[in-house]
Amino acid sequence: MKALSQKRRHPLAAIALLLMGLLITGGLYAVATTMNQAKASTTTASASDVEEGGKLFAANCATCHGMGASGSKDGPSLVGVGAAAVDFQVGTGRMPMQMNGPQAMKKPVQFNEQQTSQLAAYVASLGAGPAIPADDLTNGGGDAAAGGELFRTNCAMCHNAAAAGGALTRGKFAPALADVTGKHIYEAMVTGPQNMPVFNDANITPEGKKNIITFLKQIESSGSPGGADLGSLGPVAEGLFVWVAGLGVIIAFTIWLTSRTS
């Protein structure tokens, strides 16, 4: 310690400190970013899958994403987005995109499962990224209550506490989550499609993601205990309903009650 305090005014001390700081930051960053990729590309894709995927990609995706998925002014580079991103975007029909807009819309899926996995294999081969999650993480079976807490803290501000979706700025929106498969929910969390932030494994652990999926499946399957849910949209739907249906029926009765006179 004495040596350290003596040398602290050395001309190179500042540079040494700076170097140390940079090394620590860089090292931590490297650890943090690879944490998410710990399970990257564990699924084994055969060379033929990659080759077929490459052909599909050149025919269907390269117009915007560029040859070799290196990106163009119409679409981002896909190097390093991982198989999960492809499986989500193509598997939900968002890609290939029908038209440019505030965000890619869900639509009927354009490729069959085999083609989707080939595309995923091809994109995964370009650079390490999140892989398609294992079934045991996406089939539920976790702790719904814990998942609910995570959901309310991390997801409800855009997707609504009842997962009914919500508006974002300039025509963008967070979709409703009913009828979305556990796999796609998981992939969305790890890849952050459209305007969604990435929830990597350091942010929400795989176990936490599993719990969130369990929670979503639980509220989806338990239905609405109080009767028709009016879209789970909250007080606006309820107010609309009471004004139109409630008051409407009552006005019909008042007209009936007074129809015999005056």
Binding site: A145, N160, G171, L257
Partner: protein, 556 residues
């Protein structure tokens, strides 16, 4: 009753029931009250029944609310949920939220009663609002009913207060977000805001006192005040008698309708059960406030689609419409080292303040402008008071713009438009909407009046074309019968009251303002057809045709 003191034998009823009834009546005087009230005449019209709907909803609120108090625990103490709703098992929450969940899932009939209570609350405020719109647009607030209008306005505010305090009780995420907004509004009040907030919440938001405080307000103070106001309101209805729509034989000195007893009372009693039935059906088949979806309140999460119940919506909408900056100028300002959050304070208080001030004072404004201090028991058809109707519509549209803004996110997602665009349009409508509404409404009302006048003078178009002997084609107009014609000509049409000097011979500036407003109100009025005009219109040419058609001529 007087028989007892005289030599005449006292009246003795023949049956046991009769004797009991007589015993009670001779002590309570019920038959006298019944005789008086039973003969009270009420005019019949569907639009007169919204007050009743409000009253009945309130009764239903008292009944269902009492049930809920048996099981609700307004404590903010922490607990872990152990009821039967799986997705929340073991989650840390307040006792209030836990007991609300227990009412929903573990108390028999509890969820139904909760939904009855909440639907009834929405219907209560809605029927109060519609009732007030009816009163305003038909001019029922004029003398002698100005005070009753004020009581009604107070009832509206109390209804909103009752609703809001109830909305916050379950301590779920949605209601907590709502409370947080209220807390923000309170804190935006300059100088004293923070102190009021700390006083209200017993410390920093959310504290551990607010639920039990709101509970006391919700189940004790506010309902008691509402009850008091309802008693005053109904008492004044009895004193003033009910208004009636214009019609043959109806004037300011009579009431044409049915006596309360027995038919009207039976109808009204039956109507209570209809309202109860409608609410019960809604509660049975449609979810309201699914608190289990929202989870326990915790200041960190905020859900998308967080809105207040509809009656507070216009304040929330105004908050959503308010920009934080105007150009480069920040609405939030720092003076003397204190932050003045005008971007919260202005939208939260100013529109509501303007609406309620105009609402409370309108009877006096109109009275001052028209110099009309007579009693009015016959209502105006809205078209026959074009300026008032236009003012009402302007206010209504203004309210609706703010109301719609509270659902701006849902408008954006459900109509596939940009949230920003929705906000820009509503901001424009906030200023332009009332003006357009005023102009359009006034023009429509005047046009309808002219059409009425035309029909009164020349009869209804029959669509039959007749060729006269000299070759001219005319359309035959069928004259109206007297009853229908009365409706078109028998209305009051106030005229411009020019400024008059006071006793000193001076036309005060206040009088000039009044005269200006009077001109603004009535300068383009459409006068009702006078008997002379009707006579003249009738003698002008197609008598021959009408005689040939065998229709009777108009007489007075």
């Amino acid at each position: 009753m007087s028989a007892a003191s005289t030599a005449e034998p006292a009246f003795v009823a023949k049956t046991k029931t009769g004797r009991i009834t007589d015993f009670v009546d001779s002590r309570v005087g019920g038959s006298g009250i019944l005789r008086e009230f039973g003969r009270k005449v009420f005019p019949d019209h569907w639009s007169f029944m919204f007050g009743e709907v409000a009253l009945y909803s309130f009764v239903i609120l008292l009944l269902s609310g009492t049930f809920l108090t048996f099981f609700f625990d307004p404590s903010m103490a922490e607990t872990h949920y152990s009821g039967s709703y799986v997705p929340l098992k073991g989650v840390e929450m307040s006792v209030a939220y836990s007991s609300s969940l227990n009412i929903s899932f573990d108390v028999r009939g509890g969820l139904f009663m909760r939904q009855v209570h909440h639907w009834a609350a929405l219907l209560f405020v809605a029927s109060v609002a519609v009732h007030m719109l009816r009163v305003f647009f038909t001019g029922a607030f004029r003398r002698p009913r100005e005070m009753n209008w004020v009581v009604g306005c107070v009832l509206l505010i109390l209804a909103m207060a009752a609703g809001f305090t109830g909305y916050s009780l379950p301590d779920d995420l949605l209601s907590g977000n709502g409370l947080r907004i209220i807390d923000g509004v309170i804190k935006s009040i300059p100088v004293i805001g923070t102190f009021i907030s700390f006083f209200l919440f017993g410390g920093e938001f959310p504290g551990s006192a607010i639920i039990s405080r709101l509970y006391m307000l919700h189940i004790l103070l506010v309902p008691a005040l509402i009850l008091l106001m309802i008693v005053m309101h109904l008492f004044m209805v009895v004193v003033h008698k009910h208004t009636q729509y214009p019609g043959p034989g109806r004037n300011d000195n009579n009431v044409v309708g049915y006596p309360l007893g027995p038919v009207y009372a039976a109808k009204a009693g039956g109507f209570f059960f209809i309202v109860f039935g409608v609410i019960a059906l809604m509660a049975a088949f449609f979810t309201i406030n699914p608190i289990w979806n929202y989870g326990p309140y915790d200041p960190s999460p905020v859900s998308a689609g967080t809105q207040p119940d509809w009656y507070i919506g216009f304040v929330d909408g105004a908050l959503r419409l308010m920009p934080g900056t105007l150009g480069n100028w920040h609405v939030e300002q720092i003076f003397f080292g204190h932050v003045f959050t005008f971007n919260v304070l202005l939208p939260a208080l100013v529109p509501a303040g303007i609406l309620f001030t105009v609402m409370f004072t309108y009877p006096w404004i109109e009275r001052w402008v028209t110099k009309d201090d007579r009693e009015h028991h016959v209502l105006d058809r809205p078209r026959n008071a074009p300026t008032r109707t236009a003012i009402g519509m302007a206010g209504f549209v203004w309210y609706c713009v703010m109301w719609a803004a509270a659902g701006s996110d849902l408008i954006a997602t459900h109509f596939g438009v940009s949230l920003n665009d929705v906000t820009y349009w509503l901001r424009a409508l906030f200023f332009v909407g009332p003006i357009i509404a005023f102009i359009v409404t006034k023009r429509v009302a005047l046009a309808l009046q002219r059409k009425d006048r035309e029909i009164a003078l020349h009869g209804r178009e029959t669509g039959r074309i007749v060729r006269l002997p000299h070759g001219e084609f005319i359309e035959v107009h069928a004259p109206l019968d007297e009853y229908k014609r009365y409706k078109l000509v028998g209305f009051e049409s106030p005229q411009v009251q020019p400024a008059v000097p006071n006793e000193h011979g001076v036309v005060t500036s206040k009088e000039k303002r009044r005269a200006f407003l009077s001109r603004w109100f009535f300068e383009d009025r459409v006068a009702p057809a006078t008997p002379a005009e009707l006579e003249a219109a009738h003698g002008h040419g197609h008598d021959a045709v009408e005689a040939a058609e065998g229709t009777k001529s108009l007489t007075h």
